[in-house]
Amino acid sequence: MGTSVQVTPLSGAYGESPLCYLLAVDGFRFLLDCGWSDLCDPSQLEPLAKVAPTIDAVLLSHPDMMHLGALPYAMKHLGLSAPVYATEPVFRLGLLTMYDHFLSRWQVSDFDLFTLDDVDSAFQNVVRLKYSQNHLLRDKGEGIVIAPHVAGHLLGGTVWKITKDGEDVIYAVDFNHRKETHLNGTVLTSFVRPAVLITDAYNALNNQGYKRKQDQNFVDALLKVLASGGSVLLPVDTAGRVLELLLILDEYWGQRNLKYPIHFLTNVSTSTIDFVKSFLEWMNDSISKEFEQNRDNPFLLKNVSLIINKEELEKLGDAPKVVLASMASLEVGFSHDIFVEMANDTKNLVLFTEKGQFGTLARMLQVDPPPKAVKVTVSKRIPLVGDELKAYEEEQERIKKEESLKASRIKEEELKASHGLNAKASDPMTIDGSSSRKSSNAGSHFGANVDILIDGFVPPSTSVAPMFPFFENTAEWDDFGEVINPDDYMMKQEEMDYSMMHGSGDGLDGKIDEGSARLLLDSTPSKVVSNEMTVQVRCSLAYMDFEGRSDGRSVKSVIAHVAPLKLVLVHGSAEATEHLKMHCAKNSDLHVYAPQVEETIDVTSDLCAYKVQLSEKLMSNIISKKLGEHEIAWLDAEVGKEDEKLILLPPSSPPPPHKSVLVGDLKLADFKQFLENKGWQVEFAGGALRCGEYITVRKIGDSIQKGGAGSQQLVIEGPLCEDYYKIRELLYSQFYLL
């Protein structure tokens, strides 16, 4: 009867590998997140590779590597081509995260798993949604509604609600119920008994202290090091948790008027903050309120300098400072380089704010006791010189020639084809206009091509005397002269738009910082030089939990509150998953599943339900009683059929009398208050309520647990007396009789 639902983890089950799950809802295949670890190992994606082409839609929940890192690679190499859904910040910050990741990689290796263009094209088709926006899927997904909801954790972080036929499947990983400096807590707890809840067991074994105390400890630890002349490195993600840290630091520095410099160093730091500044409506209520009232934008960050390359940092020398640098894993990126420099000095502190990904340098340093020394690879990209340069140039020349040859052939064919079809479309001006715009982006990768006379126009290689294509304009004549098409003289709206767009350069997804652009567009041939070295870890290492995830206790209470019919646990170490599984199975009647990677589980709801239409005639005879948010009534009806649909009609014969039902939710404490207000002497005695001298009211049975089925059992007892009937009358008044 219900909607068929299957879940298959492709990664991130019984372990802390990146998140990636396959969810099939009545045959429509969702890919929930598409994560990759900072190691970028394609072998991790094998399970995904098997199913990628069959995916119908991708839902992203957070803008970090663990949730969307593999998207460009999967789009490029694994045949993933489904539309992607994400919130605006997840889209923007995710894009920047991928840029940063690529640039960090590219600086130290000949990284070829994906390029910036792949990142752009992967993100080009992202459908951007707002929180609580109900998006109806079409075609194959007809009838399915997806809606992102606030998850906390990262800016734009999403709890996905997928609804079909009134049944909800909720995908909520890495949520945070606590309100933070820049984010609201998740709204997960407001969902009503979903059919399936997919959540993580990541933090099931961790418990956190109070946020304020935590913030204070954090700042104290930094100040201690700074005061003693050391520097602090905070390895952070590109655009996720770092925002929270920046706010905490900026605010504290502002309050105390501290002078130690704070640097935020990623390849995209300035654009990150620029975009974040315009995402105020995605942050918590107090930030948007502050802006509405006073137009204060907390991300103006008065005490933080945003830098995008290391040279600026080096200018400052050894003075005490705080550096927030990407990546959090210390695998690559600025944090890696800075760590190597800072590790040797005992005054310095490397403070981890999140648990390192499995198998990364950060994880190695987080073990207790920390290693005395670690082996690292230090790599650098240097420009080519001498023979190498020469060889490179020759190689490029050859490639270029081949390419132009190919291009010209293609162009030629296109020309022929288009000429044959429609003379108008092959107007030389049009060719020039359309392709020059394209190539201005792409051109920089190839450098100037001498063979190309005019951008986009390539003479056929076979032609002896190349010339521009010429098309004779055959004019039509009638009695009044040449036939005029008025459209040719219309002022076109589009032209104006082009002129307005002029100067906006690559229109796609805004900006890469100048520095990064320089890096990118720098066509100077270069190579990567690396050497392995051992770094003595003398600096102090510390770990503080600023991951912004709900801790174990809260996760349990959230699950108990949401009370899904079926619970699927993913992404957590084996112990954590087992622990949470046992806990949930023990304390409530819900079905808990914890699938292994590539294990498909069927969580189709066995809830029975069918739909019936209510006929007008029936409804006009029903008198409902209003009870809080609900109205209830007793219904006696007969089933009929109308247009192939079931319809309830008024019963043809008088229905048999039904057992009367008392509806209401009585709390003894409330009832006590109520009786006291009526002037009764009431007290609690041994779990029962003593009313007056002799009468007791008790609640019995343990079916009153949250979400549990069954009805309340109340007992009123006492000797025959007037009070008894009065109390009973008052007790009845707390209920509705149907």
């Binding site: 307005m500 906006s504 209510l614 209830i632 039902v661 939710d665 006492g718």
Partner: protein, 701 residues
């Protein structure tokens, strides 16, 4: 004021047959302002006991209470949600009054950008009108307090309040402008507010909702007019400005501080950048308010169009103008030589734009460009007709020599846009608001002919004139839980609780599962009652007396062995607990309560009097007796109901009414009759009489 009902019959849904229309299915839409006028937009909509108010503006042509919408037509306390489309005064400025000075206690929503600008705009409004108006509607404190009550909603974000679901689409017009779609129990209303389907320099075009609303409340500001293409307008504008200044004249552009002004500044700034010869001529922008709002414009990039967002992505913020200087007051303005001044208010009512106008209007070299829609009753409206003389602010009359140009940059839809918009969403009911009576009437006529033959109703109610529509929405219930274990066949009966949530969804369920499906908000209860009645006699006596009194008295099966117990009518258990009392136990419901009361009475009577019961043989005899009695009573009652009733054979009754003859079987209640209506009536009457005459059946299945 008596509200004239322009009753519409809904076309999209099955219309109810006349007569039995339920009040609940009636939707009433009443413009409290902006009905056949422009200004004080405020439209009230009620349906199924829920009420929504769209917009809450003042009329810029009036002041004080006269500028308010007709709030006394409605009960503010009954309004659940107030939705404000954008920050313009004629759409939002009555909000502090409505929040602070009326009984309204619902929730208010607007978009983030609207809320941020709303505060600034209203503070400015209060400051400006303090100078000229005596009866202020509200003060700064009211505005600050209103900020705490306003909630924000993002485009497309769906919100549900008390069964009202709503969300909004981008409307163009100004930054943050939205059109609201409201869904109450399946009936959808779209309120466009002010909208424009033309993309301009910074705003996106209005979205077209992907569904067809049942009612569309749409603005008709421009009636059947058609805008010039944007580039023509822009060229005219820049030409007038540049020719005036090159001839040594001054250009006054009266504009509302926010909205169009930003668009015009973008145009001027670009034009100046492209024409170096103009660089020495200053562009002044006389609005401290707009300066303050710049932060909002610079932040809410996401509400603007792709074009501006890309510019933002690539270079400095486009709202950092290079050639525009801001001007704080007329005192700091050095009025020497040609200049371009953009000043508020747009209607030239008062303030800086009026001061400059008064100063410049006599010089023929000067020009005044009116860039947007002007409201009737303002000076700007007057000078569009180029009168010979105008009245200055100080009451004197002066000749009007200044050139007056009217170039509409106003981002309102024109006729082609309106008609295309309605053609795409195809609402069966169209309500026109926000337009002057004549324009509206023309638009109505055009729309009626456009949608001729498609069963589309177009109405243009006046203020306080209600439009009524009837929707017969399909009610679909979901049967859940144990009740739904198998899908029933035709003819099966279904009994259970019908639960209606505030979102108008229906569920049918077993009473015991109520708790599960309402998330423990509601639950059913069982009350067990235990009462001890003092009695020290023999339990045998009790047993005897009960046996005499009740049809069914059984020995209890489940009670502990040594305690004698009886079950009366399978409901009330009577047991001997101690020497001095008997205990009655039952679970509450009206019948059991009644039985238990009588049992108590019986037991109490034992101790008082001797036995006075009916003998068993008598009971057997009485059975026949009762039958006869019952038949007599039935006969008598039938006579009183139908008049001509004769007793037939074997307890049959022959009833004749107006020539129709019916035969009623007095035992089974079967009726034979040609006339179905009569048959039904007799059946009903018989059923009721039986219910009254015969004892209540005690077994509830």
């Amino acid at each position: 004021m008596a509200s004239v009902a322009a009753a519409l019959r809904s076309v999209g849904k099955r219309a109810a047959p006349g007569g039995d229309r339920e009040d609940g299915d009636r939707m009433v839409i009443t413009p409290l302002g902006a009905g056949n006028e422009v200004g004080r937009s405020c439209v009230h909509m009620s349906y199924r006991g829920r009420a929504v108010l769209f917009d809450c503006g003042v009329h810029p042509g009036y002041s004080g209470v006269a500028a308010l919408p007709y709030f006394d037509e409605i009960d503010p306390a009954a309004v659940d949600v107030l939705l404000v489309t954008h920050f313009h005064l004629d759409h939002a400025a009555a909000l502090p009054y409505f929040l602070e000075k009326t009984a309204f206690k619902g929730r208010v929503f607007m978009t983030h950008a609207t809320k941020a600008i709303y505060q600034l705009l209203l503070l400015d409004y209060v400051r400006v009108s303090k100078a000229s108006v005596d009866d202020m509607l509200f003060d700064e404190q009211d505005i600050h307090r209103s900020m705490d009550r306003i909630e924000t909603v993002d485009f497309h974000q769906a919100v549900e309040v008390n069964g009202i679901r709503f969300w909004c689409y981008a409307a163009g017009h100004v930054l943050g402008a939205a059109m609201f779609a409201v869904d109450i129990a399946g009936a959808r209303v779209l309120y466009t507010g002010d909208y424009s389907r033309e993309e301009d320099r910074h705003l996106p075009a209005a979205e077209t909702p992907p569904f067809s609303p049942d009612v569309c409340v749409i603005e008709s500001t421009y009636g059947i007019q058609q805008h010039q293409p944007r580039d023509v307008r822009e060229r005219r504008f820049t030409e007038i400005v540049s020719s005036t200044v090159s001839q040594g004249g001054r250009v006054l552009i009266p504009a509302y501080a926010l909205g169009r002004a930003q668009e015009l500044l973008l145009i001027l700034d670009e034009y100046w950048s492209n024409h170096p010869e103009l660089h020495k001529i200053p562009i002044h922008y006389a609005s401290a308010l707009a300066k303050r709002c710049m932060a909002v414009y610079q932040t809410h990039m996401s509400s603007m169009n792709e074009n501006i967002r890309n510019k933002f992505g690539c270079s400095s913020n486009p709202f950092n103008f290079k050639h525009v200087e801001s001007l704080n007051s007329i005192d700091s303005f050095h009025d020497v030589g040609p200049s371009v001044v953009m000043a508020s208010p747009g209607g030239l009512q008062s303030g800086l734009s009026r001061q400059l106008f008064d100063r410049w209007c006599e010089d023929g070299k000067n020009a005044c460009v009116i860039p947007g829609y002007v409201v009737a009753g303002t000076l700007a409206k007057t000078i569009i007709n180029e009168p010979r003389e105008v009245t200055l602010a100080n009451g004197l009359t002066a000749p009007l020599n200044m050139q007056v140009h009217y170039i509409s940059f106003s981002a309102h839809a024109d006729f082609p846009q309106t008609s295309a918009f309605l053609g795409e969403i195809r609402p069966p009911n169209i309500v026109l608001v926000h337009g002057e009576a004549n324009e509206m009437a023309r638009l109505k006529q055009r729309l009626v002919s456009q949608f001729d033959g498609t069963n589309t109703n177009v109405v243009s109610p006046k203020n306080c004139q209600s439009v009524e529509m009837f929707f017969r929405s399909e009610k679909v219930a979901k049967a859940v839980g144990s009740l739904a274990e198998k899908v029933p066949n035709v003819g099966d009966s279904v009994s259970g609780l019908l639960l209606t949530t505030k979102g108008f969804t229906y569920q049918v369920m077993d009473p015991d599962e109520l708790r599960v499906y309402t998330r423990a908000q509601l639950s059913s209860a069982n009350i067990t009652q235990r009462i001890s009645v003092p009695y020290s006699g023999s339990f045998e006596v009790v047993r005897y007396r009960l046996n005499q009194m009740y049809e069914s008295v059984e020995e209890s099966a489940v009670q502990e062995s040594d305690v004698p117990a009886l079950v009366v009518h399978q409901r009330v258990t009577v047991s001997r607990d101690s020497e001095t009392s008997v205990t009655l136990q039952w679970s509450s419901d009206p019948i059991s309560d009644m039985v238990s009361d009588s049992v108590v009475a019986v037991i109490l009577n034992i101790s008082r009097k001797g036995p006075k019961g009916v003998r068993a043989e008598e009971a057997a005899r009485t059975k026949e007796e009762t039958e006869r009695m019952a038949h007599k009573v039935v006969h008598a009652l039938m006579v009183s109901l139908f008049g001509d009733v004769k007793a037939g054979q074997e307890g049959e009754l022959v009833i004749s009414v107006d020539g129709d003859v019916a035969h009623l079987d007095g035992k089974s209640g079967d009726v034979e009759c040609e006339n179905a209506a009569l048959k039904e009536r007799i059946e009903t009457a018989f059923r009721r009489i039986q219910g009254a005459v015969r004892p209540i059946p005690l077994s509830a299945s």
